[in-house]
Amino acid sequence: MKKFCSTLMLFFACIFSVFAQDSNIYSIEGTVVLKETGEPIPYAQIVIKELGQWAFTNDEGEFKINGVIEGKYTLQAFALGYVDYEVPITVSKKVPKFKILMMEDNLKLSEVVVTAQAGESINSSNKIGKAAISHLQASSVADIMQLLPGGVTTNPSITQKNNISIRGFSDVNNYRGTGFLINGSQISNDASMYNGTGSVMNTLPTIDYRQYSTDNIESVEVIKGVASAEYGDITAGAVLVNTKAGRTPFEISFKVDPSTKAFSANKGFSLGKDNGYLNVDADYANAATDRRSPVNTFDRLNFGLTYSNTFNNDRKPFRFNARLTGNFMFNTAESDPDAGKEDFSTTRNNEIGLSIYGKWMINKKWISALSYNLSGRYSIDNIRNYSLVANNIIPTTSTMTPGIALGQFTSGQAYVDERINDEPIYLNAKISANLNKKIKGSLFSTVLGVEFNSKGNNGKGTYYIGEQPAFFRERHYSDIPFMNTFAAFLQEEVTIPIASTSLELDLGARFTKLAIKNYDYKPTLDPRFNARYNIIKNNKRTGVSTFAIHGGWGILEKLPSLNLLYGGDVYIDRTLFQYKNISTNELLSLIQTVIEDELLDYNIGLAKTRNMEIGFNMTIGDVKFDITYFNEKLTRAISQNMEYTLQPTKYYNAVTSMTAAPKYENGMIMIKDDSGNYVEAPSTLVNEYLGSDTPDNRGKQDKWGIEYDVDFGRIKSLNTSIIVNGSYLKTTNSTGGLLYDYIGGQDPLNSKDRFPYISIFEGTANVSNGQNRDRLTTSLNLVTNIPKLRMVVSFTTQFIWMDRTWSLFKENDVYELDDNGNKIFGNYAEHGTDRVLYRDPVAYMDRDGNIHPFSDYYTTADEDLKFRLGMMRETSSFSYNFLKNSYNPYVMANIRVTKEIGDFAKISFYANNFTNSRPIMKNNARPNMLGDRKNTSIYFGAELRITL
């Protein structure tokens, strides 16, 4: 592995040193002015797209880009508040006076973009601009995903967690696999130790997108295809957010909808000539699930401060950005005031972040530019649950040592004040170097980078003020070591012109090594490959003016979260004896404590996907087509499993005699018999199984789909654009491997003892081993903009043609029994049955740890064994279990309007499902059941934005 990397790097270095002197270098100078008035535009960014070289204009609007290799490129210009500018240029000599005319970005333009555009990278991506985000009135980044092909309308809601999945449905694998980067720093939630209560699968951390408001966003790019090697710790795609930096006018906005009120303000100040800019933004939102009752309220407060400046602008520009952010969320839930009077719970999330990032154009022979990104985030999350609880009086202990010891008793009724303190810390550093070289007419752009991540937690964990529940132990998150990841990536982008076509190749590899105390992870290497073949490019002469084929293939991996590796020691307490006599004030309890070490004796692997996509985009006349087929195979996803060990335990029988006077002596409970002598209390030996959580990587997801985006162009007479997009997506979630399961309870043939066998199933302990889902949607967008009225209206009709879910059916695995008790195998995916469906485990484990095949159930002559094994089969009495739950197609329409009033105000209004089409649709698998209401409920909102 190491040898391979070093050989590769040496190889590239050799090539460049040999060909280093081959190409000529020039510079481009010019000015950027406003088209209507000629006024210079300071702080505009000029970029040469293919080389990644850039410059910023100074206060007089002047810029200079040095070190440009001769060739044909695309020159782009960006400035906040102005329409993005792009023009092809050929650099064959020094360009002294390049004039760029930029137009103001407002609704006076004849073309306004309020939908998602295709991105500029080789792999599939979409770019969403500020105008589209404000037209949509997104309340969090998650709402923006509706604009992508295949996205379905959702009503904005910040009273519940907002999740994002790219090219996927709502499941935890897709949520965790989506990366989120703000200004190049990756946001992760993997060091958060408290994610609710429940099983391993229900407490995997995912990012809550409602914590981040959208008013300070300049642009969003969503990478859907095979991400290039510089992106790590993702398996699906990534959402890249860029915040505003530069001179912007003072802008305030008010947003309201049936459950939310929001207010935001931002401004970019110029600090003087060559002193850079300071952008300040603040945002406040308040939401309630039901405005009539303040029982559940949610508040969000964001503020941000960005300092940006370019030093040494003339020769080797050094771009410096520093951004300080504060993201706060408050959630208060009171219980029904008519019931438990005093119960309430509050959640407070406070996050502070600092990121320093930028790029330095060095323009040396061995390095063109250096990018850096350093960021740190510190969160303090406090949850408080307060309730008055009346519990039974039972023995309890809080001992931290294993063994048998005396315990105490709980009190009956008490105020329980539960506090949870979770303080995740994230540190991130990424430096990459870029070298552009032209060799024999082909442009080579090499990027070599290193990245270091550290995640940890400084929280106190769960603790109680006052009364503690039975068997509670404190566990400080600050005892958990930090999880460090070291990554290095190498990317080679080659653009090869072949006659009139051009072939772009992007080869990359990412090397990742996870280091955390007490675990030893081997490094992994992920290859990533993307290619685009531009067959016809902007050829206005022929009918087909653009035609390109693109494809990609790569391996992506996602690191496990901190709570999987350090889940906390598990204390299993069992009460062996208890006695209570209030009249004589005798209280005695004997408890056996077993401590299961949190450290797993195996490494939880990284979830891994093999992604591939292939597609083409074509422009015929005015119509643009973009169709992509993608296929992703996720293996080694996190799944739940248990490990069982037999522990014979001596339980003492119940003693309630008034004269027993029990005492604990020499490891035995002694009670007085009828004659007053102390004897050992009678006991029963129970063969108990203790189970411990052993999460593993048996989960799988197979995903494939086709995305299509057709832009029919603008009907000039109506000023309307028609865009039709959508996707077909199918996912299959399943689990492989062997699952250990214990049905629990007493042995039916010997009630004093526990059930003796552990079931071993293939995949899941369920009649079905997985879930399928598919969906075909189309979104018809009509965007009309009327420059004279400075208004844009977009009308979206969403068609959901197919939305099916069905349980995975494995033939010859599921059967029913006929009247004689014989097995019948049927195709239950085609038809239901009125009989009970069965699925057998593959094996069972007895008390000695020996594993036997489950076929013993059919061959054994031992009636007792057969009886017990019969109880271990999984059953389902739902006749429709494997049928496809599907609905006939249904439609919904949304309308959005944005109108500018002069240059200083903008009003937006939207209505989702404005016809309130909520049909009750029959589930085709269960036609006699009450149907389901489809489509979101009608929802509307308005926003007023004032620019001073």
């Binding site: 438990g340 009077k341 009346a390 039974n392 039972i394 023995p395 009460t575 119940a654 309630t656 309870g745």
Partner: protein, 411 residues
């Protein structure tokens, strides 16, 4: 003016008609056009023909409208009733005391519909024979009360009182107590699962969840005539938690408690006698008695020891044979000593056959302190010279009444 006149006429006619409607309700439905005829034939069980059906009362009850009719059967067991249209359940029970043995005959048929299209019906009721027992369920407090300080329901103080209704000493040894499956009464017309292929209840009662027995060798636990045996889920003084509850931690009480099977119950107070948990199914750590509509019954093993009893009565749920949690010990009809069926709604489906409980008792709601208590049989109490004798016709609709507060709160 015109409108006013119309209004006055309308009001006046309404008043007139309302009194008419009241009249209609009071009188018997004599008019053939608005009533149906039910012909009832009672049949004595085989072997008991020496008992006469003459004078047996037959009750016709429409649960939805609340209309009740009573007719008397003749010596042949035949009676006719003219009733309003509706859906009726017809029941009959009567008691005969002979040689200190109280014989009870009861039978029931429900779901008889009378409509204008079908206005006559023939009903045949097979009476079933059962004996009144020594030990009966005197009170069942299952709904819990309201915790004054938290405002929430407090249901940990569930208890049952058994009573010796006879004049001889009874022994609790080897007496078993349990609840029938399903834990809550099936609602909205659903049928319980322990039925035969025709949907009829099987002869017996399915004991679900756990099996509890009074532990003794034969004469260890005597219950004197007129004496109570209190069995609780949590044998502690609940009045310390909420004053409107009961103290169940008293010496001599019993409790459903086993350190291995029910570790989540409160530690019982010293002096309370734990019952023996001899069977359990499912992983639960406490014994479940429904707070809404339990069906409680007491039974014997019929002389068998525990292992034999379990082996012979273990019955998987016919609808879900491999789900261990819904398997029961199906106690034979003759081994059931007494039962009381509690409903949440009037039209819940019965889980007990008529021999065990021919009716049901219903409280207005849970979490308010209600309990169900047997009525005193005035005649028998007077005949016993002051020892309270409770009414036991194996029909909780007649035998039980609802108390606002559980009787032990007054101690």
């Amino acid at each position: 003016m015109k409108i006013k006149n119309l209004l006055y006429t309308a009001i006046a006619s309404l008043i007139l008609f309302s009194s008419c409607i009241q009249e209609l309700r009071k009188d018997d439905f004599k008019d053939e056009a608005i009533s149906g005829l039910v012909k009832i034939q009672l049949k004595m069980p085989q072997g008991y023909e020496q008992f006469s059906t003459e004078g047996m009362k037959i009750l016709l009850l429409d649960n939805t409208s609340g209309l009740e009719y009573t007719v008397i059967a003749d010596a042949n067991g035949y009676a006719e009733a003219r009733v309003a249209f509706g859906t009726y359940s017809i029941s009959s029970e009567s008691k005969y005391t002979e040689n200190k043995t109280i014989s009870i005959f009861n039978g029931m048929q429900s779901g008889l519909r009378l409509t204008p299209e079908e206005n006559t019906a023939n009903v045949s009721i097979d009476l079933k024979y059962s004996k009144s027992s020594q030990i009966i369920i005197k009170e069942f407090y299952y709904g819990g009360c309201q915790n004054i300080s938290t405002g929430k329901n407090y249901a940990k103080d569930v208890y049952v009182i058994l009573y010796n209704n006879s004049e001889e000493v009874a022994y609790l040894d080897s007496l078993c107590i349990g609840v029938a499956y399903p834990w809550n009464a099936p609602t909205t017309g659903k049928i319980p699962e322990f039925t035969d292929v025709n949907g009829n209840l099987m002869p017996g009662a399915p004991n679900s969840g756990m099996g509890w027995m009074f532990d003794g060798t034969g004469k260890d636990l005597p219950l004197q005539p007129g004496e109570d045996a209190v069995i609780s889920l949590n044998a502690i003084d609940h009045t310390k938690i909420t004053a409107n509850s009961v103290n169940l931690g008293k010496q001599g009480y019993f409790t459903f408690y086993d350190p291995v099977l029910t570790p989540q119950h409160s530690t019982p107070e010293a002096g309370v006698i734990p019952l023996k948990g001899f069977w359990k199914t499912g992983p639960s750590k406490s014994y479940v008695i429904s707070n809404l509509s339990p069906a409680l019954f007491i039974y014997t093993t019929g002389g068998r020891d525990i292992e034999e009893f379990i082996a012979q009565t273990y019955t998987p749920n016919p609808k879900n044979p491999s789900q261990a949690l819904s398997a029961c010990l199906f106690v034979e009809k003759d081994n059931v000593v007494d039962g009381v069926e509690c409903f949440r709604n009037n039209n819940d489906t019965k889980r007990f056959i008529p021999e065990i409980d021919n009716g049901f008792i219903r409280t207005p709601g849970n979490g308010q302190g209600y309990s169900v208590h047997r009525k005193i049989d005035e005649e028998a109490t007077a005949a016993a010279g002051g020892r309270i004798v409770y009414q036991d016709t194996n029909n909780s609709s007649n035998d039980f009444y609802v108390r606002d507060k559980a009787s032990l709160t007054e101690n």
